[in-house]
Structure formats: C-alpha cells, structure tokens
Symmetry: C2
Subunit: 154 residues, 2 copies
DNA sequence: ATTGTCCCTACCGACTTACTAGGCAATACA
DNA sequence: TGTATTGCCTAGTAAGTCGGTAGGGACAAT
C-alpha cells in the first residue's frame, strides 16, 4: 500500500502534466481541485521540486510547472521519491536494496524470489508509464483542470 | 512495502509446506530456523490458524502444520490476512475496496486506473503462486527445514 | 511599499509496527 | 494423578510513521 502523500503527489503532478507546460499553477488551485490540504500539498510539491520533477516561481504569478516534458516522468520515479522503493521487501528491491537480517542465504530464499517477481511486474508498469501516457484528457477528467472540453469529437 | 509480520508469516508457512504434512512443528523450531522472535511468531501463526491456513495441537508433541495441501494456499491469501489488501490504494482494490474521499469521479481517475493495472499484475502473480510452487526444496533451501541434501547431482 | 506566492523549519496527535510479558488451558506421558 | 510441555489469549509498550498544522521568511511583481 502506498501512502496518501503519494496519492496527492501523483494526482498533482498529473494535473500539471495536463496543463500548458509553460504556465505556472498555484498550489492553492491544485489543492482545491484535488481536494488536498493546501499546506500539506505544498510540502509534497516542494519535495518533487527538490528532486527535479517540478519547477517553481515565487511572488505574483508564481506557482509550479513540470520541469521536464511529461513523456520523461514516470509513475515509478514519482512514487520512489515520495514513498520509497516499490518492492514488497527491501531484499527484493533494485533501487533501495537492503539485506535481510533474518535470511541466511538470500540467493535461494523462496519468499524473496517471488517478491522479486512481484517487484519486476510492478516496475514493468510503473517505470514505463509516463505522465503523458496517463494524462490524455479524455481518460483523466478527474485529475484534469478544465471541465472537459471534449477533445476528440465523434 | 509489506511488513515484517508478512515476511515472518510467509517464511514460516512455507517452511511448514516443505515438511511432512502430517507432523507438527514447534513454534520454537520455526522461530529458531527463520530467525524470528518466538513470541511474535506465535501471534502470527495464531492468526494464520484463525483464518484456516494452519492446524495446531497443544501439549507435548504439539505444534503447527498446514490445514490444507500446499497447492491450495497462495501467497496472496497469506499476505491479505497478515497485511491487508494488495492494491496500492484502497480505491484500486477488489478485496478491500474503499472509496476515495478526494476523488470526484473514480471511474475516470487516471491515477486509480494505473493503480488498478498494478494491482492486477500483483494479483496475477500472488494469487496464482501456491506454497507448493514455491516450496520445491531445490529452490527454497533457505526456508527449508533440512540442511540441503543436494537434490539434483550435477 | 505592498501584496502575493513559494520556501523552510518546527511541531503535533493518532496510529501502526514490532515486539515483550505473563499466565491460562489442553495434551501427553510417567 | 501429576507434571512437563506446548499452544492460546490478553495486555502492554517503545519507537517510528502518517497525515497533517503553524508560522513566518524570502522573493517577485506591481
């Protein structure tokens, strides 16, 4: 299970992906639309910025926008920043590997072996699905900014 | 990420799956071999028993054994009992569904949509992999009871 | 100078995790 | 019958995490 933080973060960054990439969007507006606590969301966006996903500007007409094109940001990257490794156990993780203290020989541990399969299956989805993939307006109205301007007529 | 509890539980039940199914194994022995705190493991095994995975007997020569053949117990079943739903978010879960309070229309939420894919991928592995699948001694020496009798010579 | 915005640090209550403690209850065996 | 052995049950608990809140400082536009 992921945390609420990751959920807010994913929804927020996906909303930015659907906006015009050159414009800044206010935290308050994102919070409002995604029904997230403003101050809490602020912390999350700051974290995403610190890791290079977002660009921000202060003062009037400030806000946040993507720092890279949405084709270059995956769900997996965002989740790892906000919630840590994908794998069910640290011993089955590639990016956040930590040895099992209660395992005499990891190489043959059957539990780890299965969890590695699970990790791979998760990564196969999350590391290949980009914001652009998920942000096609027709499929993502809930996260979208505008009240659905019917993008592809009949 | 799953918890330590699920890890202990999986290793323990898998160890039992590799034993002769008619014999009882002591909590103390399982704890010892899996390097788990005895009293804590006891709670976990009790929980697995309460959910019908294990059978137990008290007094001398007592202990735990599987309540069903290992072909009929999946990783997914065990994990759900010890750690709850598999899905990244409750709104993407089948067995533990709970509505998203911060979502105006779940049906079109792009985040949920991707998380549903992840859930399905996880379930495809965890709900089809049984203890019997994982417990072939040659592949699971770490979790096995005996000190590895070299199963397939050269 | 003022207003609007992000930025930073600190704090907090509730809950969960990963245990530990202690004793009761049943079973086997002498 | 007694006693040792084992699981069964309830409680407690220290440390950490989650999901926020609070308050102000830095900076940009006007």
């Amino acid at each position: 299970m992921l945390t609420q933080k990751a959920k807010y973060g994913l929804k927020a960054i996906l909303m930015l992906a659907q906006r015009n990439s050159s414009e800044f969007t206010l935290v308050a507006e994102i919070a409002d639309r995604q029904r997230a606590p403003r101050k809490y969301l602020e912390l999350i966006l700051l974290e995403l910025r610190k890791h290079g996903f977002l660009h921000s500007q202060r003062g009037k007409n400030g806000g946040f926008r993507l720092a890279r094109p949405p084709e270059q940001i995956t769900f997996g990257q965002v989740i790892r920043v906000l919630d840590g490794p994908l794998a069910p156990f640290p011993c089955a993780s590639l990016t956040g590997y930590r040895k099992c203290v209660d395992c005499s020989d990891e190489q043959v541990c059957a539990v780890r072996k299965q969890m590695r399969r699970v990790r791979d299956a998760m990564a196969a989805i999350l590391d290949t699905t980009t914001l652009a993939d998920a942000a096609t307006p027709a499929l993502a109205r809930d996260v979208a900014a505008d009240p659905a301007p019917a993008p592809i007529p009949a």
